[in-house]
Amino acid sequence: MSLQAAVPDGRRPSLAARARTNWGARSRQERLGLRLLLPVFGTVVVVATVPFILAFVRSLTANDGRFVGLENFQRALGNAQLVESVKQTAIYAGIVLPVEILLGLGLALLVHRTVRSPAIRAAIYVAAMIPIVIPQIAVGVVFRLVYAPDYGILNALLGDTGHDQILWLSSPPLAMLSVASVDVWQWTPFVYLIMFAGLQTVPTESVEAAQVDGASSWAQFRHIELSYLRPLLLLVLFFRIADVLRVFDHVYVLTGGGPGATTEFLSLYLYRVAFKFSDLGQASALAVVVMAGMTIFYSVITRFLPAERR
């Protein structure tokens, strides 16, 4: 596997450099490019932006179509349940992200250093893909069968039956952990695969040199491997944060947001306002707020990503 992300290709002249050499051809080719790109990309942007505009418009109107200004926003932002939902989402992210990254990194290091057989490595690689490709809904079903009281297999295995069963899905702290565990189950392999790919790119000479110098495993990791893994760690964080903040499907099946509002994460809260309360004005206002928040968040995060250079 090779990494093509942050490494600029210094050997071939870049497109821009080529362009500079022939002024006339550049204008013509560039115009052709724009003629091809703009209609299609422009249409796509328009089509994708229309819903944003609609949501914005809807957030400023009442159910019967009257313009009501920021009333929906006031209702949306003044709702204590929104604060609760954001808090729970943050807690969820705070549990899931460190666990997935540390676990994935740890397993990658373990396999990289101690498993030599390519057959086993390949087998692990394929096995790691399995949880990732399972539809979220199916994952919810799978873990419902594990955690549910009375018919779930976990309590049966623990010998826990009757009145004092552990309530994985209804006791507030456990419900959060159960839902988080599903995420960890599904995405730690993803982290593992990326970290493992990164470890493959570490030049063996540097590692061997360090070992000859008598460096401990930990020092070796900190000074050599980590520097190669840093851009990948950021990448993994980027994708996982994006997904964790949007989580919906498996939580919907597993707890439906309960008990109370313990697992009512942002997406589930939006769903409740839109479809249980049928308050589309407030839901649209929330959608606008969420989208604005995500845009800001995204701009901040991309500053840390390895830039695409050409």
């Binding site: 009757g162 069963q165 309530l167 899905l169 507030p172 008990p259 109370g260």
Partner: protein
């Protein structure tokens, strides 16, 4: 070249497949949106019979309870003509009535047969003939918008082999629960899953204690003393003698606990009894369960709650008259009898009291009396779904140990007040 052709082939298959999904044949076919589970068992049995008799193809589209409501709401907003008939839980009907989404069944030729309990006709009428009417609906003429096809009134079941005397009051219920509560036997099975399930289980208790959600003028009555006492009874007294995880228990789960002999008593919907509690394939308690109306509470009365599933016709449907004809056929006495023999819950009093059906359905006579009582219905407001979500979330949180009874009452009442005021009700 090969690849190009392969891609082209795949693309054309995809497009062809997409094209084949277009449009359903009109006329000679009726599409019913139904709730998945025990309630539409009878309907599914009748559909082929209707086709044989009249040549009309009945397509039943099932969805789980919560999904069905969302589906209907979005469908009505889209003025969707997909469904010719919709199954609605009676508390949903006010919203659809307020939104003018349903056709007038009286105008389509359906008349109110006296063999069916009056309360059944009342619950299908909008605006409701009694009880508080939402302010925006006061000026409308009452019209029949839904006809009951599952005449559910919530009842009570208990293990009659363990205690031959039926509990008469909720004090008896609690005493029996404490006596019967053991490691492998729950004294009382609470159906405590969030929103609709726990509220459906709780409202009869609330009313039997003399409490209520609203009063006659839409003021919130949930935080008065009687309501608080009822909430305490559920989340403190009953919870102490209940099964392990009331907050996750839904109807199917409680039926299962009852069926395998690990529960002593619980409230129950008639529709669940045959297909779950007394299902011959899996029950160990056949013949050991007694069915009674809801026990009396401190108010002196036991108040049953009705949860009728009604059939309505969307205004957007293009087959209104054929749909109405189907409803008329379903109401006929002979059809109702066949319906009852196929796990349906009939609404005709004569059918419920029919001796030939009582052996297989021991609760039918009890149900007939319960319908005549009459039972109470859930508040008729288009905001009911939101109110139920609020109540249900807090009750569920209390059952999970997150809130006290006082919390439930205070918070839920405050949220309901805000909600109703925002929706234009004169709520205080």
């Amino acid at each position: 070249m090969r690849y190009t052709r392969l891609l082209a082939l795949l693309a054309s298959v995809a497009l062809l497949g997409g094209a084949c999904q277009q449009g359903a044949p009109a006329g000679g076919k009726l599409t019913i949106a139904a709730v998945q589970g025990v309630e539409d068992a009878g309907l599914k049995a009748l559909a082929p019979m209707y086709k044989e008799k009249f040549g009309v193809d009945i397509q039943i589209v099932e969805s789980p309870y919560g999904d069905l409501f969302s589906k209907l709401v979005t469908g009505f907003q889209a003025n969707d003509a997909t469904f010719d008939l919709v199954m609605m839980d009676d508390p949903w009907m006010p919203k659809f009535g307020t939104d003018n989404s349903l056709a007038d069944l009286g105008a389509l030729g359906i008349s109110k047969d006296p063999d069916v309990a009056q309360v059944v006709w009342d619950v299908g009428t909008w605006p409701p003939p009694r009880g508080p009417v939402p302010p925006s609906e006061v000026s409308k003429t009452p019209a029949l918008l839904g006809v009951t096809i599952v005449g559910n009134v919530e009842m009570f079941m208990y293990r009659s082999d363990l205690t031959p005397t039926a509990p008469a009051t909720y004090d008896d219920v609690l005493a029996n629960a404490k006596a019967q509560n053991k490691a492998d036997m729950a004294g009382y099975i609470i159906r405590g899953k969030a929103t609709n399930p726990v509220v459906a289980d709780f409202l009869p208790i609330l009313w039997s204690f003399g409490g209520d959600v609203f009063d006659e003028n839409w003021n919130v009555a949930f935080d008065n003393e009687k309501s608080l006492a009822a909430v305490k009874f559920l989340v403190e007294d009953l919870k102490a003698v209940a099964q392990a995880d009331p907050a996750s228990t839904d109807a199917g789960d409680r039926d299962r606990i009852m069926a395998i002999g690990q529960g002593y008593q619980s409230s129950v919907w008639p529709g669940e009894i045959n297909t779950a509690v007394l299902d011959p394939a899996s029950t160990t308690v056949a013949g050991k369960v007694g069915f009674i109306p809801i026990p009396a509470g401190p108010s002196g009365k036991g108040v049953g709650m009705m949860g009728n599933w009604m059939l309505g016709i969307p205004k957007a449907s293009k087959n209104q008259q054929p749909a109405a004809d189907f409803i008329k056929w379903m109401l006929q006495a002979d059809t109702q009898k066949t319906y009852a023999q196929n796990n349906g819950i009939p609404s005709r009093t004569s059918v419920l009291k029919d001796a030939s059906l009582t052996t297989a359905n021991p609760y039918f006579p009890v149900l007939a009396d319960a319908l005549q009582a009459p039972p109470n219905w859930r508040p008729r407001t288009d905001q009911w779904n939101a109110v139920e979500t609020i109540l249900g979330t807090h009750l569920n949180a209390a059952l999970a140990g997150q809130e006290t009874a006082q919390d439930v009452v205070t918070k839920a009442s405050a949220e309901i007040r805000t909600l109703m005021k925002g929706a234009g009700y004169p709520t205080q």
